[in-house]
């Protein structure tokens, strides 16, 4: 713990800290471009110069200088001021003065820092350098003349994403940042380089020229595109959500966000259900709420009512459905739309117990049936960190392109019954072993065998719980905590032959199994569910309602309402509340606050934000695993739910990045 003096103030800093970190601890602002907390230190922008004694009598780059005992650091001296002004003047030599037409304007590090630390005018009157634009795919718009060569994007794709595709070519003034042969950046986190770029060289292509940051209303939200519960900031103007950006939460998403979560928001204004529809003589016709409710009442469901909930739902909606069905005398609610079944009696067995931040410390990982990059891109970042620290990774399932060294053990789950000595050795020696059971394995009954392996390898020990199930539906853990699952899954619902089936944003259900039911779709997008429905009640998407979401690790998080739902669409719980009136039952709440209170009374674990205590030890498990994983559940990463499928950006990503269509020309 060295003690250093920053501007005369003595502070103790952690061992291994840099001078820059010491200054930050002392509350001093150090301007920087290339330095980033989560990336390696490059030291090439020189903006963070400070004066350090003892040392050479010249300013030093604080980001790359270790803080040592007795250092005297000055951030306010004349030398530092002059050094910053000089660096800034050099950086601006080749930077175009196109701020008025630059999308970074208003949230640009260079703009802000030149205001704060620059000298106000340039003395340079030669020609500026110009750089040709580079194609980086459908998500990243480039204006490479603005690039100041901080190499954050290069370091991100190499270190965090693990996909080496961005590089700095040539040298000196001619250095250019580009993807290899100007191919599109092809990984699930590519757009994070836009946030990292301190200038307007890499900006968001779909959001180009849409808005200025100061026009936007910022709402704190939770992402629902996968089950990670990434913290997002929803930027909206008027009734339109313009973009979603990651918020920093070290426990969940650090400060990254998958491309899907970031860019699917343009699907929120397309293919929306904004009025009530009733199917008459095989055709959907616009109708009123009253007509719809009357028709549902006329079906006289009684206790023959069932509900299936979709992947994007908040806990409040699911609880309102539970309350409605409860009042009708039914418990037939299920959310595993595709018919997956697994034992949900012990939530600890279907939870990501290790937690997202701890999985980085695992030293042996067995992934059973999960294409992590597509099912949970942000978890893949964590696993990559674990692998970089030396964790051995084994994967059961069809091969996919990992971003870290991993051994594939084959498609057949039966391999779990007689694992090779490599795997058993690695796990018996591991101090922090982890098992991750993905959707493809859960659906094939591998949970029991995985639990047995967990016991055998002793993955639960003091301060470490290495047993994890991995879901990819944002609603899954919330639904399971609310107890909304049938033993036999969707088959139980079909067998009960309900008179009315409420489909709450459920688009992946095989509705042909319910030929006699009156199918009521309550959702926000005209997708597969709406196509099969008899009655459509327009509801709100995740940005249009406040809600509680539980992510894979059982973390309860709340999202706020950013905009109003379009047209006649209402928040889901109000629809269910009105439906209760129509059906002549009481659900016990009249307002959102009452609904939440009732939900907390029903499931107290949802009352507190943060990791829920799911209690209980892991069940013993047992049995043998069998079955071959032909393919992973996520067939097309960019088109996994109704919002993505309505998003032109996601459609284009799917076509260009996954199916190799050449759309580059069309975009120019």
């Amino acid at each position: 713990m060295p003690t250093v003096k920053v501007d005369g103030q003595e502070i103790e800093v952690p061992a291994g800290a840099t001078v820059l970190q010491a200054c930050e601890l002392a509350g001093k602002e150090i301007p920087r471009f290339c330095y980033h907390e989560r990336l390696s230190i490059a030291g090439n922008c020189r903006m963070c110069l400070v004066e350090v004694k003892p040392g050479p009598p010249k300013p030093q780059a604080s980001c790359a200088l270790p803080a040592t005992e007795g250092q005297e650091i000055r951030t306010d001296s004349e030398m530092v001021k002059k050094a910053r002004e000089g660096v800034m003047e050099f950086l601006l030599i080749n930077h175009p003065l196109d701020c008025p037409i630059c999308d970074q304007g208003g949230e640009c590090d260079l703009q802000d820092q030149s205001m704060a630390y620059g000298r106000g005018a340039t003395r340079y009157d030669e020609n500026k350098r110009a750089v040709t634009e580079k194609y980086m795919g459908p998500l990243i718009k480039t204006t490479m003349t603005r690039c100041i060569h901080c190499t954050r994007c290069v370091r991100f794709s190499e270190e965090i994403a693990g996909v080496d595709e961005i590089g700095a070519l040539y040298r000196g003034e001619n250095m250019q940042i580009t993807t290899y042969l100007e191919h599109a950046a092809k990984h699930e986190l590519s757009a994070n380089v836009i946030d990292l770029c301190p200038v307007g060289a890499l900006t968001s292509r779909p959001y180009a020229y849409e808005a200025r940051p100061w026009e936007l209303k910022k709402t704190l939200g939770i992402d629902v595109m996968d089950a990670m519960g990434a913290n997002i900031r929803i930027d909206s103007r008027g009734r339109e959500v313009l973009r979603a950006l990651p918020r920093v939460n070290d426990d969940v998403n650090e400060e990254w966000l998958s491309d899907k979560s970031r860019y699917a928001v343009d699907g929120l204004t397309r293919r929306r259900l904004d009025k009530v529809w009733i199917r008459k003589r095989g055709k959907l016709e616009a109708a009123t709420w009253d007509e719809a409710f009357k028709k549902i009442k006329a079906a006289k469901p009684g206790k023959d009512i069932a509900a299936v909930y979709g992947d994007l739902l908040d806990c409040e909606t699911m609880f309102a459905a539970k309350a409605l069905l409860g009042a009708m005398g039914s418990t037939l609610i299920e959310g595993r739309q595709t018919g997956m079944t697994y034992d949900t009696s012990n939530l600890a067995a279907v939870n990501f117990n290790t937690t997202l931040s701890e999985i980085e410390n695992a030293d042996a990982v067995l992934i059973v049936g999960s294409q992590i990059r597509h099912e949970a891109p942000l978890l893949n970042v964590r696993l990559r960190k674990a692998a970089k620290r030396g964790a051995k990774v084994f994967i059961v399932g069809p091969e996919w392109e990992t971003t870290y060294p991993a051994t594939f053990l084959g498609n057949d789950l039966a391999v779990l019954n007689s694992l090779s000595s490599d795997v058993t050795d690695a796990f018996s020696k591991a101090e922090r072993p982890a098992i991750i059971v993905g959707g493809a394995a859960l659906g094939r009954g591998a949970l029991g065998k995985a639990l047995a392996l967990a016991k055998e390898w002793n993955v639960v020990k003091d301060g470490w719980n290495g047993f994890n199930s991995l879901h990819f539906s944002a609603s899954r853990m919330g639904g399971l905590m609310l107890g909304l699952a049938q033993k036999g899954g969707m088959a139980d619902l079909a067998a009960a032959k309900p008179k009315v089936l409420l489909a709450l944003g459920a688009d992946e259900v095989d509705f042909t199994k319910f030929p006699d039911a009156l199918k009521v779709f309550i959702g926000h997008h005209g997708d597969k569910g709406a196509h099969a429905a008899d009655i459509i009640l327009p509801a709100a998407a995740y940005t249009e309602k406040a809600g509680t979401y539980v992510n894979i690790e059982g973390r309860v998080q709340r999202s706020e309402k950013a905009v109003f739902a379009p047209g006649d669409a209402r928040e889901d719980w109000t629809i269910l509340r009105a439906l209760a009136d129509a059906l002549g039952v009481t659900v016990g709440f009249d307002s959102f606050d009452q609904l939440r209170a009732a939900m907390f009374a029903d499931t107290p674990a949802l009352a507190n934000e943060g990791l829920a205590d799911l209690g209980g030890e892991l069940p013993a498990g047992g049995g043998d695993a069998s079955g071959v994983i032909e393919a992973y559940p996520v067939a097309d990463f960019y088109l996994t739910n109704a919002i993505c499928r309505a998003s032109p950006t996601m459609q284009r990503c799917s076509a260009e990045l996954l199916h190799g269509e050449d759309l580059a020309e069309a975009a120019e």
């Binding site: 003034e173 001619n174 290899y180 042969l181």
Partner: protein, 222 residues
């Protein structure tokens, strides 16, 4: 240098170089280069391998050699490293040619010492033969590049042609060198000044004269 660019990757280029592989002789050298580094650090040999690849391309095309993208991809695969990292190295160092060059790559130094000693005349001599900066002559014999200091200031002006330096040039002397090269001879590399061997002072030493024949202790004379 500012006009360096990567040869566009066309179907023809892929067809010509897609099957590139080290010949046994270069392969042996490549393995030896990799063996200089610890296990798992084989990437460190990238500069040596790019040089070997460029030389092999040179042998195949009877030129100084260059690095088509498929060849860089081969080197990346050889070292199990991302291609973009190889391209970064190849584009950084100017001794890797990114576009095809001629049989002889004439690199004329134009930095101040050479310029003061007559690099303009040297450049003019080259241009008289039809060479143009950054281009290869139509007969495929010469590629002309102007470069910065090559460290031969004591025998300026100089040019580097492929692996050899030719120093103390005048227009005539360069002409003689170029003629010899064109005829397939190997002119003497190094200084072209008659009677000079390396960069020793022309006309004998003017300082430390006592040291010419034997070691001399100057300390008492300071």
């Amino acid at each position: 240098m500012a006009d360096r660019y990567i040869e566009p990757v066309t179907a023809e280029l892929r067809e010509r170089w897609g099957a590139f592989a080290f010949t046994p002789a270069w392969d042996k050298k490549a393995k030896a280069a990799i063996a200089r580094y610890p296990d798992g650090r084989q990437k460190s040999a990238v500069m040596a391998l790019l040089d070997f690849a460029q030389r092999q391309v040179g042998e195949e095309t009877n030129t100084q050699g260059w690095l088509p993208i498929p060849v860089m991809e081969y080197v990346a695969g050889y070292l199990d490293m991302p291609v973009i990292r190889v391209v970064e190295v190849a584009t950084f160092y100017t001794m890797y040619n990114l576009v095809p060059v001629g049989r002889f790559h004439v690199q004329v130094c134009g930095t101040t010492p050479c310029w003061l000693r007559g690099s303009d005349e040297v450049m003019e001599t080259c241009k008289k033969r039809g060479m143009k900066k950054g281009h290869t002559t139509e007969d495929g014999l010469w590629t002309l590049t102007e470069v910065e200091c090559m460290g031969n200031c004591a025998s300026a002006p100089m040019v580097q042609i492929n692996d050899d330096n030719f120093e103390d040039l005048t227009g005539e002397r360069l002409d003689a060198v170029l003629d010899a090269l064109a005829e397939g001879k190997s002119p003497k590399a190094g200084t072209q000044e008659p009677g000079r061997h390396t960069v020793e002072p022309v006309g004998g030493p003017t300082t430390l004269t006592e040291m010419v024949d034997a070691n001399h202790d100057y300390r008492g004379e300071w």
